[in-house]
């Protein structure tokens, strides 16, 4: 109970600090949304010159983009700030977090709850809702369930990517932008049909790392379209399983990282 109160206090402090400098907060609120808006605009611009992308129409592609964006923005809102870990490891300020009798990861996330990213989540889900409306989906109970589960699973998956790639800093302090290849790169990758990509690149990102199950496979189930790449129809329902596997992996990497951590001593 006391622990929960402590977490609540950390969260409340964040809300207060975010709303203190109101202009700056509003600029960041809209600025953050802008980045996500441009991602969606990019897809629209591409469809200006082509009727189909990887065998999918604009409405169908938007469903994939919507699932990916909704999941990514939710994950970025909840755990995206874990990428500050590298500066904390470098500066040695992680020690202060570790000596407190609370979990290191929840503290780290609540120390800087990015309320400025809230509008982005709203936008992400708006795109998803519009994309669902634009497609003529043959609703069944299983599809309704999938539509509810898929964005959450996508968020869990992206959250795991955020935690895993931030944990790199435990071993490689100057890991710099490597994490971005998998977090923001993963978002861009999952925004398009997998049939767009080719070769070992698709094999690695889509199937070995599991990014295909974030948005593409669930979207195929919702649309009732067979996978041009040949996976069976039920593979869309694997998205929560893949997300849980990713979460387990991330938890393992995080724990190993914390154990490996040696303070800078400063």
């Amino acid at each position: 109970m006391g622990e929960l109160r402590a977490y609540a206090a950390l969260g409340a402090a964040q809300v207060r600090s975010a709303t203190t400098y109101r202009t700056s907060f509003l600029i960041e609120l809209f600025g953050n949304m802008g980045a996500t808006v441009f991602d969606v605009i990019t897809v629209l611009v591409l469809f200006r010159v082509t009727p189909a992308l990887g065998g999918f129409s604009l409405a169908e592609a938007m469903l994939i983009t919507g699932l990916s964006t909704a999941g990514f923005t939710l994950a970025d809102f909840a755990v995206g700030n874990v990428d500050r870990l590298k500066s904390m490891v470098r500066a040695g300020t992680l020690d202060a977090v570790l000596v407190r009798p609370l979990g290191a990861l929840p503290q780290l996330l609540l120390m800087d709850l990015p309320i400025r990213k809230a509008l982005r989540v709203v936008f992400g889900f708006t795109v998803l809702v519009l994309a669902v409306a634009a497609n003529d989906i043959d609703w069944t109970p299983a599809r309704v369930l999938l539509l509810v589960v898929a964005p959450v699973a996508a968020a869990v998956f992206f959250g795991s990517i955020f935690v895993s790639s931030a944990s790199l800093a435990f071993w490689w302090v100057d890991s710099g932008e490597v994490g971005a290849a998998f977090t923001y790169g993963g978002r861009d990758f999952t925004s398009y049909p997998m049939s767009v990509y080719g070769g070992w690149f698709r094999g690695l990102f889509a199937y070995a790392l599991g990014f295909a199950f974030v948005a593409y496979q669930p979207a195929l189930v919702l649309l009732g379209v067979p996978d041009p790449l040949g996976l069976p129809a039920w593979s869309g329902f694997l998205s929560p399983v893949v997300a849980l596997a990713a979460a387990a992996f991330a938890a393992g990497v995080w724990r190993a990282g914390i154990r490996h951590y040696r303070s800078t001593g400063s």
């Binding site: 202009t23 700056s24 600029i27 960041e28 600025g31 802008g34 980045a35 441009f38 605009i41 990019t42 611009v45 591409l46 200006r48 010159v49 082509t50 009727p51 189909a52 992308l53 990887g54 490689w172 100057d174 890991s175 710099g176 932008e177 490597v178 971005a180 290849a181 790169g185 861009d188 990758f189 398009y192 049939s195 767009v196 990509y197 080719g198 070769g199 690149f201």
Partner: protein, 286 residues
Amino acid sequence: MDQRDASVPTISRIGPFRASIATFGALIGSGFRRYATYRQATIAGTFTNIVFGFLRCYVLLAVAANAAGQRPAGYTAEQLATYVWVGQGLLAVIGLWGWTELADRIRSGDIAADLLRPVPPLAGFLAVDLGRALHGMLTRFVPPLLAGAVFFPLHTPTRWQTVPLFTVSVALAVVICFGCRFVVNATAYWLQDARGPITLWTLSAGVLGGLYFPLRLLPAELTVALWVATPLPSLLQTPLDVIAERDGPALQAGLVALQVVWAVLILALGALVQRRAERRLVVQGG
């Protein structure tokens, strides 16, 4: 016997012009060395550039495969691949994102020390940025291009003037990008906190600079308007269109000429903003 002693070289000895050239050169060297120390970060950044190169290249090739005549906005598939991979290489050279040094120094007040130096801030920061770009050109430009050349068919320039023109275009893009970042950062003189303008810059530079997609995919009037009315397409779109040989020789050279205009304008604006800010600072701080 050589009469030179250890004293500071006087201006009369080598002349004021040569002295300022020497200072400028030394600052370029210091910028180069500063970025050469972040070796791991260079590797990390290159890796990420390459991953994004694969992403963008596959997506644009899929666009080309379905577009009318397989030439979206007048690019062949090879030209699009060149556009993407040279773009990933140039990203770190022109330094589109992440420069807040001037704004930070204004906020902390360190800028007062810079004003005492014999080199004006605009020239000083420009020299360091040129050193940074030179380091980027030597370390960050080639790896993505190699990766692209190994995995995708790229368009190789066919005109003799393309490569020299591209070199000039990149140099101009570096100067224009620096000028834009300087002006955006300099808003901190008035706002104290330049986070808003910097956020706006980060957003618009990526999209309207031609990184996310070639601007030619937009309606033609909009593309022309952006090119003429803003410096943003001169950052990436121009050098990339030059190397991809998207246009005829005349337009190719014309785009670089437009860059010259923007480089002059933006540096003049930077100098003007700095002068106004200094006058204000003197009034404020005495």
